[in-house]
């Protein structure tokens, strides 16, 4: 095993080009477990800790450009405003110790269906900024996940940043685990209201081979909200509407039975979380609508 310690982003890209089998190592919260438990012996470890750029973020007009290694703790502390869904998801990651090291870039690199940030990214809308010595490309996050623990990166590419749409409405995130803290998701659900586009977006975690959006549920809800004039009226959503949204979200799942939970339970729980997160987000939206109207 060789330990590569690039000091700059350019050096990192060069190292990855030279050694495409090199495993990027940032917070170590996945890779080091695999090494400690003897599940993985990469030829090269590519330490990204020394590349300061990866720990920075910029808030632009439309997006937050989040450096790949920005720890979850920073997201919770500094980005709750523009990225509320991701901040909620960040808070459910592991423990304080893990949140100080783990990052969205790491979650994307590992591409585990159980990664906590995926549903929030899918719901908010995001592109992964992949870079190699050959250049940069932006991969829409829904096309980034290609299989269980597989992603769309080329062997010579590294994740530089994630460009996440700034929230223009309420966002929610919920995750089921069999413990009240420090738990890997049995399944998770992210939801974002996009009042400007009059759209709802969702993200489902750990209930299919890859994280995914519940598109049928989104389309149903978009149509129903438009038809009922809900965006303008800010009225209560009828329970039947929320129920149907939940059923469609559950239907989007393609889960497996494993040691963490049954497929049936996952499908059921995604439905419950879809209904609840929609309720919470809509309540917030109505609250802000009312406030706006009163003002």
């Amino acid at each position: 095993m060789d330990f590569l310690r690039p000091g700059t982003w350019e050096e990192a890209l060069a190292a990855k080009a030279e050694h495409p089998s090199a495993v990027p190592l940032a917070g170590g919260t996945d890779v080091m477990v695999e090494i400690n438990f003897d599940h993985r012996r990469p030829e090269y470890l590519l330490d990204l800790n020394r590349i300061g750029d990866l720990y920075e973020w910029e808030t632009g007009e439309r997006d937050v450009r989040l450096g790949a290694s920005v720890p979850y703790t920073r997201i919770m502390e500094h980005l709750r405003g523009p990225l509320p869904g991701l901040a909620l998801a960040a808070h459910t990651v592991g423990s304080p110790q893990i949140r100080n090291r783990g990052s969205v870039g790491g979650n994307l690199g590992a591409a585990s269906p159980a990664g906590d940030s995926h549903p929030a990214l899918l719901a908010a809308g995001a592109e992964v900024e992949a870079e190699s010595v050959r250049g940069t490309r932006l991969i829409p996050v829904e096309r980034f996940y290609t299989g269980v623990k597989r992603n769309a990166l080329e062997p010579d590419e590294l994740i530089r940043a994630v460009r996440i749409r700034k929230a223009d409405g309420p966002q929610q995130f919920a995750k089921v685990g069999t413990r009240n803290a420090m738990v890997i998701a049995v399944c998770a659900f992210g939801l974002a209201l996009h009042p400007e586009a009059r759209a709802v977006r969702t993200g489902i975690g750990s209930a299919a081979p890859t994280p995914l959006r519940a598109r049928a549920a989104e389309e149903f809800l978009d149509a129903a909200l438009a038809e009922g004039g809900f965006w303008d009226s800010g009225r209560d959503l009828p329970p039947s509407l929320a129920r149907q949204f939940a059923e469609l979200a559950a239907g989007a799942c393609n889960p497996i039975d494993d040691v963490r939970g049954s497929a049936r339970y996952r499908r059921h729980a995604v439905g419950v979380m879809a209904r609840r997160t929609l309720g919470w987000a809509w309540d917030t939206y109505r609250g802000s609508e009312r406030t706006t109207r009163c003002a």
């Binding site: 190592l25 477990v33 304080p96 893990i98």
Partner: protein
């Protein structure tokens, strides 16, 4: 490879480090600092919690090479850290058991863990101490919910956590009295 790291204020050097070694292994097996514990080596138990450049981390998930040039504080350095924070230098009564009463060289949170009965087998204790010390440095008077959240990454199998909560409350109360 060689790794240079400042541990508890002293520059240390480890040679012949295997590239897959964790910071935890280097601390325990190469630098003679076994206080940080090897309970799960997968970031689930917090027994190896240390400060890395001031941040709480699981030492088992930091590759040794990533610690190069950085500053680490382990449970062995907590008393000194507390003394520095309080504006003093080294803790008084360094020579435990020989002179001075036992435990005179303890940080307030260490003292509180002993006094409150928060230690049974003690294997989780070093990690909990580093985490509790960090909490109290940030939040001097934490609520119970704050304490639970801050310590939710540290598993204990003996105590049921009640006395650990007592210890953190005790340390906070004592700090409050001296202000």
């Amino acid at each position: 490879m060689r790794v240079n790291v400042t541990v508890n204020g002293r520059l240390r050097e480890a040679d012949d480090v295997w590239e897959g070694e964790s910071l935890l292994y280097v601390l325990r097996e190469r630098l003679g600092l076994p206080g940080s514990k090897n309970a799960c080596e997968q970031g689930e138990c917090g027994s190896c919690t240390v400060r890395l450049d001031g941040e709480l981390v699981c030492a088992c998930l930091v590759a040794a090479g990533q610690a190069e040039g950085r500053e680490v504080v382990t449970v062995e350095g907590l008393a000194e850290l507390a003394a520095r924070r309080a504006g003093g230098s080294a803790p008084a009564g360094e020579e435990r058991g020989e002179e001075g009463p036992p435990g005179a060289g303890l940080s307030p949170v260490q003292r509180a863990f002993v006094d409150a009965g928060a230690v049974q087998c003690g294997f989780c204790t070093p990690g909990l101490l580093v985490a509790a010390d960090d909490l109290l440095a940030r939040v001097p008077d934490p609520s119970d919910a704050d304490i639970r959240e801050a310590l939710s990454g540290n598993l204990c199998r003996c105590t049921g956590y009640e006395k650990i909560l007592d210890a953190v409350r005790l340390a906070a109360a004592r700090a409050g009295e001296t202000v």
